[in-house]
């Protein structure tokens, strides 16, 4: 492809779509690769063909933003490749899997807008049918119009907790409780920071008001004890600070904020550093979205959680950075405006973290028989015993010795929890145990993968 400019964007969510738009505006024709059948990402995920719910029903207060993004992606003259998994990056090209066929896609520049998934801190009983992550509970409702149960309990912390609960309430489910592990004191302490984003704060307060008006018990300072049931979820045991309580339900949604999907940045060779706010190792990026690797840019939640509005801004900013690096004329005032807005959201984000703090006591309280890694069936007790027996100070060594994070999800679901257990067990900060190295394939690929004909560049 000798010198040809072929930017590739991975992820057709708010960041990827705005990045694509900015590149098209500048006269480039990017390739946009995404796993979903239609562009929109997670928060603005679109329903399957034949479903007829309107935008207001699907996206509530965010309907206008969702509609605008969908119009943008549908109207862009770009090479959009839906239903396509990027499973590897090697030597300036992506390895794709589309309908069972392998393809190689060379890029001149790469914008990674890979988004996020739930941060899972397991609760005893979480492998029972009827237990879902908050994000999965939301996807079921938004995408296919079905709930995870009729009587649903919500537990954990993070902005998704009241949001998904109120969406279930609106959809007609019985929300039996919303149990936030954050304390009321956390919310009050967070107020000054949250006031930096008054509109978002007001939305959050309206959600809580709607839940209360719907008769939903909302509790703070809760601690999950276990999900009850034999063959499927029958209830939830939790601690209210004074005593154990039980509640009947047929489904539980739980989660503790989001975690960035960083494997592709890892495979692209990006340098990582520990980010205390996200409590995670993240690929480094400057204010414009440049990674440590020339020609590779990072935008949206995939490089640190900041939400959909920030993702739109960061996507556009990363595209401008790419254009700047190409020597194209760029509206510098616009770039500065985007960075200022992102910085403001960053300050608000710190307030959110104060309002929905990470439960730092989770690891110490995780019982030994709690399954941490579902794929390889590794319990908290096994992690602790392995760390003790082998004197393991580091997460990749722990993986080698007991298979945690070695299964289908490659640690995407269990890695954060395993790091917390190891760190707590050794009495060190979580950053001291390192991070699981990313390896191809990012998600499983079939043995009988067919090679598609080499593409003419």
């Amino acid at each position: 492809m000798s010198g040809e400019i072929r930017p590739v964007i991975v992820g057709a969510g708010p960041a990827g779509i705005r990045a694509a738009q900015a590149l098209v505006t500048a006269g480039l024709r990017p390739v946009l690769v995404d796993e979903a059948p239609k562009g929109g990402g997670q928060i603005y995920r679109r329903q399957p063909d034949g479903f007829t719910r309107d935008a207001k029903t699907l996206y509530g207060t965010e309907a206008a933003k969702a509609t605008a993004l969908h119009r943008t992606i549908d109207g862009l003259a770009i090479d959009h490749r839906p239903n396509t998994l990027v499973w590897n990056i090697e030597a300036g090209a992506l390895d794709l899997l589309r309908e069972g066929r392998a393809e190689r896609l060379p890029y001149s520049h790469l914008i990674l807008a890979t988004g996020a998934t739930d941060r899972i801190l397991p609760i005893p009983g979480w492998t029972l049918p009827g237990a879902y992550s908050l994000g999965a509970a939301q996807v079921a409702l938004k995408y296919q119009g079905c709930g995870i149960g009729r009587r649903v309990a919500f537990i954990g912390t993070g902005p998704l907790l009241p949001l998904v609960a109120s969406q279930y309430l609106k959809a007609g489910a019985e929300v039996v409780a919303v149990l936030d592990t954050a304390r009321t004191a956390d919310k009050l302490a967070a107020l000054p920071g949250l006031l930096r984003g008054p509109a978002t704060l007001a939305k959050g307060l309206r959600l809580l008001a709607a839940l209360k008006a719907g008769g939903v018990p909302v509790r703070h300072g809760a601690r999950p004890l276990r999900i009850l049931g034999t063959d499927r979820v029958e209830g939830l045991a939790w601690h209210d600070g004074d005593r154990e309580r039980r509640i009947d339900c047929d489904a539980v949604a739980f989660g503790y904020g989001l975690r960035s999907e960083t494997q592709l940045a890892d495979l692209a060779g990006c340098r990582f550093r520990f980010d205390p706010l996200n409590r995670a190792w993240l690929p480094e990026r400057d204010a414009a979205g440049r990674s440590s690797v020339a020609g590779v840019y990072l935008a949206g939640d995939g490089a640190g959680i900041a939400g959909a509005d920030a993702a739109e801004l960061a996507g556009e900013r990363a595209a401008l950075a790419l254009l700047e690096d190409l020597g194209r004329p760029v509206d510098r005032a616009c770039a500065a405006r985007l960075e200022a807005k992102l910085a403001a959201i960053g300050r608000f984000r710190r307030g959110l973290e104060r309002a929905f703090p990470f439960p730092t006591d989770w690891a110490a309280q995780a019982p030994d028989d709690l399954v941490v890694c579902r794929c390889e069936e590794v319990s908290a007790g096994t992690l602790r015993a392995t760390a003790t027996r082998w004197g393991t100070p580091e997460l990749n060594r722990l993986k080698a010795l007991c298979r945690v994070g070695m299964g289908r999800c490659q640690g995407r679901m269990c890695g954060a929890a395993a790091a917390e257990i190891l760190a707590a067990h050794r009495g060190v900060p979580v950053e001291a145990v390192g991070r699981l190295r990313g390896q191809a394939p990012v998600k499983p690929i079939p043995v009988a993968i067919e090679d598609a004909p080499e593409e003419a560049a």
């Binding site: 030597a91 082998w390 390896q439 499983p444 079939p446 043995v447």
Partner: protein, 379 residues
């Protein structure tokens, strides 16, 4: 750097792979004081990320005595290192995909006939009946019933753990910056350590060349990077460790159900890190789907690679230095060190204590690579 701790020991070992760790264990059992210096974590490089084949079949005849010695140790693995390491004596089946392959297998059988491997050539209907899960691609195989496989992620660090329990001083995350001959022995600087030892074992894997060179011995050691893959857990399918005449693919199924396979070469990211390569992955998966029809619908969940040290003749360097009294080499296993590792450790310990090995190792002498006009002065 100023040393903060001084240690005097009988034997210093550079490298905590299976060779160095097994040597440490054997030396402790002989009652010698041992210090092992590992740059990263014991058993985390080639010794830990290899395929896990515990295979004598296919080795050149000169390696078979060493492999037989190791074979005996594998039978007592739990007594030796305290864990079973998922060792399974499954047998090793080397496949022929053509008449020419079959002729090669028969020729090998002849060559090692007196060395005790008990090879059996199986072809035709007997072959189909015995391993019905193999597809039509293979036409025959050479069967070595005593071979097997194990989990290298457990066995290799397991030797280091056993050595530590037996009293070896094992220092991980401690890179050797300097190793020199000093008086009657050696002086090493590693992290904050200053070490004096009577003897020095060079077991630094792919990084051994620099230590050999420091003592004036040039070895044409090159780094190589295997290309490995593992599937999700599958129902029981392969009951043997499989290789193929001519190479290209090897595969085994672990107790948990995952099929581990390897073949081809990965790519180096730098001196210390490697990744599987796209073209090698494609070739490996294609061959897997051909040879093992039941794997066609399976999902691969992980690819990986590592860094191993290869010699031009694919035999290790094992034996005393030609330039420096007290220096003993054990490296260059060329992707086939896991099975013989435990015996290599014992041989290194014998060389340290007695100055000679009870198992023949002449073919592995470092002198075979002596440069015609190289500098042979000890550093």
């Amino acid at each position: 750097m100023t040393a903060t701790e001084r240690i005097t020991t009988d034997v210093a070992i550079i490298g905590g792979g299976i060779a160095g760790a097994a040597a440490a264990l054997a030396l402790r059992r002989m009652g010698m004081a041992v210090l092992l210096l590992e740059r990263g974590f014991c058993g985390a490089q080639a010794s830990g990320v290899n395929y896990g084949g515990v295979r004598r079949q296919g080795r050149p005849p000169e390696q078979i005595p060493l492999a037989q010695r190791a074979h005996a140790i594998w039978q007592r693995l739990p007594e030796t290192i305290g864990i079973d390491g998922e060792y399974i004596r499954s047998g090793h089946l080397k496949l022929a995909r053509s008449e020419a392959d079959l002729a090669s297998l028969e020729a090998y059988q002849d060559r090692v006939r007196d060395l005790g491997l008990g090879l059996e050539i199986v072809a035709g209907n007997a072959f189909r009946a015995r391993w019905p899960w193999l597809g039509d691609r293979a036409i025959a195989g050479s069967w070595c019933p005593g071979d097997g496989h194990a989990n290298p992620r457990l066995v290799s660090p397991g030797f280091a753990r056993a050595a530590r329990k037996a009293g070896a001083d094992i220092r991980e995350q401690t890179a050797v910056q300097e190793a020199v001959r000093d008086g009657d022995g050696f002086r090493l600087l590693a992290g904050g350590l200053e070490v004096r030892s009577r003897l020095l074992l060079n077991c630094a894997g792919a990084w051994s060349g620099r230590f050999a060179a420091a003592f004036g011995e040039t070895v044409p050691l090159v780094s190589a990077h295997p290309n490995m893959a593992v599937t999700e857990p599958l129902p029981r399918l392969m009951d043997v460790n499989v290789g193929v005449e001519g190479g290209g693919i090897y595969a085994r199924q672990v107790e948990r159900g995952n099929c581990v396979m390897g073949g081809g070469r990965g790519i180096a990211l730098d001196e210390d890190r490697a990744r599987p390569g796209r073209s090698a992955i494609a070739a490996l998966l294609r061959q897997a789907a051909e040879l093992f029809p039941a794997l066609r619908g399976a999902q691969v969940i992980r690819f990986w690679s590592g860094v191993e040290g290869d010699t031009p003749d694919r035999n290790p360097v094992l034996g005393p230095s030609r330039t420096t009294p007290g220096l003993i080499h054990g490296f260059g296993f060329s992707g086939a060190g896991f099975q013989i590792g435990p015996a290599v450790g014992e041989v290194l310990a014998e060389l340290a204590r007695d100055g000679r090995s009870s198992t023949p190792i002449e073919a592995f002498d470092i002198g075979r690579f002596a440069a015609p006009a190289g500098d042979t002065t000890a550093a």
